[in-house]
Amino acid sequence: MIEVLSQGFDGGKRCLRFEAGGLLQTVYEHPDCPLPLRNILEGAVAWQKRNEYKSGTALRTIPQYAAVLLALGTQVTTGENREALSDFIERSGPVGKLTDIFVPLDVTGRIYGESHVRRTPTDTPIVSAMAGVDIVDGIVKQARLALTGVWEDNVHLAKAANLLVGKPLDTQTIADVAAAIQEEVNPKGNYLGSVEYRRAMAVITIKRALEICSKGGMLS
């Protein structure tokens, strides 16, 4: 079941609701699927995989998909409880059964930028960054920066996003955020990239994602 609801949130006039038990392909094919989400589903997830993975379980298995949903300001429901996806992901202990996923649509002034590092052009990223930034009159009102490959677990929102709020998205601000990201991330090294490399790539990818935003970015 996937539908567009007229009740928006997080600045969105409407929202897209899809069941956690539905296939990713259903989300991908929906005409109101936000472009950043569609791009990730197309570039990072093969067609067969989109017909294998459920929208809920993919949050754990496809970090880039979780990252884009985080940047989009997604909410989820677990039974009666509706909460931000970021809270759901970061909650330790029992998380409850995920039932629905809500993505805000038509958010005025929200732009997106994405960057990643990988072995081959469509490989699972070693590190990726997804930025969702609300800019009003040249000033950042809200920002979400989701990174993969630089945490103990798959994906998280970075607190450094707060440094953007109230400032113009200029070179200095981006540099400040990138510097803060370097301190904030806590990567685990593996054969794809050491701790040192992942930390460095967190800086590069977040910088690039924000630079894309500063140049107009991708609208949803």
Binding site: E42, A46, Q48, R119, D123
Partner: protein, 949 residues
Amino acid sequence: MSTETIQVNFILNGVQHQESIERGESLLEFLRKLGMYSVKNGCSEGDCGMCTVLVDGQPVPSCMWKAQEIEGRSVLTLEGLSKRDEMHPLQQAFIDTGAIQCGYCTPAQILTAKALLERNPNPTDEEVGEALSGVLCRCTGYVKIIDGVQRAAAWLRGESVSLEVALPQIHTPPEMSMYEDLQVVGKPVQKVDAVKLVKGYPVFTDDFVLPEMLYGAILTSPHAHALIKRIDASKARALPGVHAVLTHEDVARIKYASGGQSYPQPEPHDQVSLDNKVRHVGDRVAIVAAETPQLAEKALRLIEVEYEVLPPVLDPRDAMKDGAPVIHDEADTSGIHDAKHNTAYHIEAQVGDAEATFKTCDHVFEGEYTTPRQQHVNLEPHVTITYWDEDDRMVVRTSTQVPYHCRRIIAPLIGLPVKRIRVIKPRIGGGFGNKQEIVLEDVCAHLTIATGRPVRMEYTRRQEFTSSRTRHPQVIRYKIGVKGDQVIAMDLYVIGDTGAYATHGLTVQMVGGFKGLSLYNPPNARFISDVVYTNKPISGAFRGYGTMQETYALEVLMEEIAEKLGVDVVKFKLDNVLKVGEPMYLATELGEGRQGYEQTLGTSAIDKAVEIGLESTDYYAKREEYARQNQSSTGHIKRGIGMSIMMHGSGVAGLDMACVTFKMNDDGSFNMYTGSTDIGTGSDTILAQMAAEVLGITTEDIIVHAADTDFTPFDTGAYASCTTYITGGAVQKAAQDIRRQIQEHAAPMLSVDDPAKLILRDKKVFAPNGRSISLQEVALDSLHWHNQHQIIASASHISLVSPPPTAAQFVETKVDTETGEIFIENMLMVVDCGRVINPITAAGQVEGGMMQALGFAQCEDMYFDENGRPLNARLGPYRIYKSNETPKMEVIFVQTDEPSGPFGAKSISEIAIDGVAPALVNAVHHATGVWMRDLPLTPERVWQALKTR
């Protein structure tokens, strides 16, 4: 044993079905039980796409879907796409464009393409690549698959499509004009196995179910190095439905070496079917046969094993040190060079005096390089079915490149004489050398002997990584002495990591040494190699076979030398490369596991190949332009172009042997019996082309039978790039004998005195006066009327030379200097393989080879933790290139006329993999100034190198 069953209603290939399924059964298992054998298993983890079917028009991985999920839905498999005499446009287009090599991925590719074209009738190449990215192909490089989809799309849009398909450029020197009237050889003839593959017929080993068949499974070691102190299989044996559990206590301890090589197998024979010691994670511990695969797995879990875990040694350099853990401390293995230092072999060979000559050189350059543990990723896993036939002979139906070696090697292991063993090779879903080994055949036969029942065994994808074979990782140290601009001395030291067992360790390193010192062939050269055991998966044969590793190191160091000397690298290489007429100095010392034969380079188009490549890529202009751009730009993207040259071999001189038999049928067609094994290369097709050329017919009148040790004659098998050259030689001889017999029988029918004056053409025999009779008339007359006899001939062929194909490889790349990422833009290979027998299959070999080589160079490696446990033994984390990331690839042929080869042919399959790595490393250097010495070029490696430049 009770299993819960449920009813499902669904449409399969347009027909309503109601079936009982076992709850939890995968859709893949269910469909294959229904006889839908086009649905293939490649990984059972949703990573490879081989099992793709369409459910309500959507491509789904049937291994990950539960069968009950199709309730009320419509399922399409390839069986439903066409009728026996009709083909879907996609199927026809796949045949026309050469999109099929081994054919294992073809059903999934076609179904996914069908789903795409129903949504998007006019896709771009990028969209096709994107849509097909969930279906891996290890053979083709995807170029021809995308071409095939586009050709079908045009048909389906109603556009007129030329019957001709795009062919690679072929440059032919004037002296080859004698071949101008060839009718079949050199033509883009359709693959003889294309129809059955494109229709998904049950042609592979596993597409075969016998009554009472049991399912075998292997318990593998979780430890890299351990003694089995106690093993108790009683609980597993007590499980109802389990028919046999065998451990080292149950199987005779017969020593052998699993490498599928000619008799006598090089020592050491350091393996047994089941041992009381394990030497790598994935090593064999016990085997089980049970009524179902699930039950077999359950039985494995009930086997209690008490291990004494020993310290592993994972780096060959550590393994050679005093005091290192000794991997082969067993008393009954002979022939290990130095077991205490884990050195299976120590090889030394030399010509002249390299050490003394270095002192006379103007410059001496050294470089150390390492290469990765690349895995073959043959998409059809190893699979074997064994059973007793009606004469109590053991039939081994197996996915093997070496049926005859297999029969000879397993005979003592299973306690049967060769005459009681029959090995059948069905179609093979990719091999690349991985199936030039005895991997499952002995254990599967042990289980049939123990149970009296047919047994099927198949590796899981994880076992393909841990328990089949890999490429030998090497540490390569070159020392090159130059006087003026001439290379006059070379020293090559190679540490070959053979993993837990020696198998191909001797020969891979010997071939690497020979080719690595013969490309520039200095008169003073020394080769030393230590082939070292480690507690890692077993290294074995892999396309390239040592040559690939050494070519990488050599071609990078030669580039570095030219730069340091300030000379043009292309000129430097061509000035020093082995020339036609020159002897290869180390040929006799470095045969393949034994004394070799003298070799002189007979044909080579390397100069021409380089010339064409330089022109096609605009190499010099780009070298200047990119250098200027890289210098002036402050951006993080740099561009580079690099090249390399290479040569390979065509079979093993004086060792590889093939025999081929032809038999004429009543209608003038022919059965061709060959023990060679087409592993997707198209070798059955090019052999049929050669025969057809001699006999004046088309390949449609050649019925190829390969391979069955009961019926097809001996052939060493598909390895060492030997089939075109060696088996082709046998084909040519046998077909010529058949032609002679036809001429002799037809001469009185045509009232001609001299049979040699008769010409075979268009399935007829022509007399000088223009009269003709059909081959059918000759056949019927010879079988039923006059001088009755079967027109039949066999011929064997061996060659004391192994003429090298030669080639030039060019790669253009971008490098992100902030991240270390590499983005390949173009790859061009210009190849001299002698006569090109079939331009489509030959180009497919080169494209696929370049793609596999790109994986070796850029992303493929196996990683282990400190205890030797693999970290990326799955297709996803291991990563091979997919259809949506394929760089632009081009293939150009420069023909030579190799006098010792059939129709002037040499070989093609392995040289295609040799040159990408050095050309890419050289391109990265051109872009960034750094010399990369360790493969693969992972982003972090490049980033680290850039940081420290």
